[in-house]
């Protein structure tokens, strides 16, 4: 197996599906978490590279979805790789992942708004019913409604489930000013999906020891595994 190292910030953002895939797949990796000072030091050297980065046997690669697709080919849960080998099944996963990944885009410009009130107001606009982020979440909710198994696609855990789970939990974390934790409570399939994924034993184990505050909503609401 290749030597893998993931480099990203502490919070569960764009690297989270990658870390989770490796975690649930039982694949050893070095989780290089960047604190503010480490990032300041790194910035001039890696510019214009964006995080997350994956190091594979010494070679550094960027682009979160590309990295994710790679690790999901390596990671298996109950014998099934998280990324399908069949071209049409892979197409369905890629389609949904691209849709889910787009969900963060409207939020990105708000990081640069310095005034807290203005930033919260802008985010509230995105989250209102019919706003770009709410609409995105409602669409994903609609896709999940089509599933009989509760998994997003193919009646098994795939990269698409990890994306939906981590992105929804990120929005629900309560750590984004202006985005309340109950923002998606009206979307029942999204809520059920979050519970389902959080309760998967390998997922439960992965989040069990995470103490960083933003991870609270990623944990199963059932008793933790010890």
């Amino acid at each position: 197996m290749q030597q893998l190292k993931v480099t990203y910030f502490a919070f569960p953002g764009r690297a989270e599906p990658i870390r989770l895939a490796l975690g649930v797949g039982g694949i050893d990796f070095e989780d290089c978490v960047l604190g503010p000072e480490a990032w300041e030091e790194m910035k001039p050297k890696v510019s214009p590279l964006q995080l997350p980065l994956l190091n594979v046997d010494g070679k550094t690669v960027s682009q979160s979805i590309a990295i994710n697709r790679y690790v999901c080919k390596l990671a298996k849960v109950d014998g099934n790789p998280l990324y399908p080998q069949d071209p049409f099944e892979a197409l369905l996963v890629d389609e949904l992942v691209d849709k889910v990944s787009d969900g963060l885009d409207p939020l990105v410009p708000t990081w640069d708004i310095e005034d807290a009130k203005e930033r919260e107001a802008k985010r509230a606009e995105l989250m209102v019913k019919g706003g770009p982020i709410e609409k995105w979440a409602a669409h994903i909710d609609g896709e999940l409604a089509k599933s009989t198994s509760g998994f997003a696609l193919l009646d098994q855990l795939t990269m698409a489930d990890l994306y939906i789970f981590t992105y929804v939990c990120f929005f629900r974390s309560g750590k984004l000013d202006g985005i309340p934790q109950d923002s998606f409570d009206h979307l029942s399939h999204l809520c059920l999906h979050r519970e389902k994924i959080a309760d998967i034993p390998q997922v439960k184990v992965y989040y069990n020891d995470k103490t960083f505050p933003a991870y609270a909503c990623f944990k199963s609401s059932q008793a933790s595994l010890h």
């Binding site: 290749q2 214009p48 964006q50 994956l54 594979v56 690669v61 960027s62 682009q63 979805i65 590309a66 990295i67 697709r69 790679y70 080919k73 390596l74 071209p87 049409f88 892979a90 197409l91 369905l92 890629d94 389609e95 992942v97 691209d98 849709k99 609409k135 669409h139």
Partner: protein, 219 residues
């Protein structure tokens, strides 16, 4: 082989990597074009659908890069699929494809601007060291290192098609503020463009395509 129908406007842009892959691989597909005047009516019926769409044995799928990747899995040149089966090689292809998508996004944003501002913004991002030029220059240096002349590995991949599309879009002269010669100083980019354009299946695909958007793709 599944029954394939690709639905898009009669321009290269978002459907071209898939169309090219299918053409290179000699895979039959229905190239279904929607005229711009008909799109408004269609959009009212099928929101939130965005083009391109691919119908695979009657099942409709969206997302241009997902569609292109699928087409590249099916299509082979010289016996090698355009999307590598080896996960690490595929990672390198995906990385380059996504990088191109990222750095070309600011150009998409300029279409909304008022004329003077549009031209000024575009001129800035394609000037030497500008947001787009520096990334294309980066790909130029990757190509310089390539023994095969291809962007990743030793055969044609989705990465080559995406670079080819990006470069020809910038060279088309159809975007005010972006001069046709904006990439002429990048020798390996030009060499790559010529290599891809001269692949017989690519040459054949563009043979009957007319108009300024398609002209730069011809050998």
């Amino acid at each position: 082989m599944p029954q394939l129908k690709l639905i898009y406007f009669p321009i290269p842009v978002r459907a071209e990597p898939a169309r090219l892959a299918l053409a290179v691989g000699g895979i039959q597909f229905e190239d279904s074009t929607v005229q711009f005047q008909d799109w408004g009516e269609m959009k009212a019926r099928v929101d939130p659908l965005q083009l391109p769409l691919l119908e695979v044995d009657g099942k409709t799928v969206s997302q241009s890069m997902a569609i292109a990747r699928y087409a590249c899995r099916l299509a082979k040149l010289g016996g090698k699929p355009l999307y590598p089966e080896d996960p690490y090689q595929a990672l390198l292809v995906d990385e380059l494809v996504d990088k191109v998508g990222d750095f070309m996004a600011p150009i998409g944003a300029t279409f909304m601007l008022e004329q003077k501002e549009k031209e000024a913004k575009r001129a800035e991002i394609v000037a030497k060291g500008g947001a787009v030029e520096k990334w294309v220059a980066n790909i130029d240096s990757v190509l310089a290192e390539s023994k095969s002349g291809f962007a990743v590995g030793d055969s044609l991949t989705m990465a080559d098609l995406v670079v080819f599309l990006c470069v020809n879009g910038l060279r088309s002269g159809t975007m005010d503020g972006i001069p046709k010669d904006c990439l002429d100083h990048l020798a390996h980019i030009e060499k790559h463009r010529v290599t891809i354009a001269n692949i017989p299946q690519v040459q054949n695909y563009y043979k009957d395509k007319e108009g300024p958007l398609y002209a730069p793709f011809k050998a």
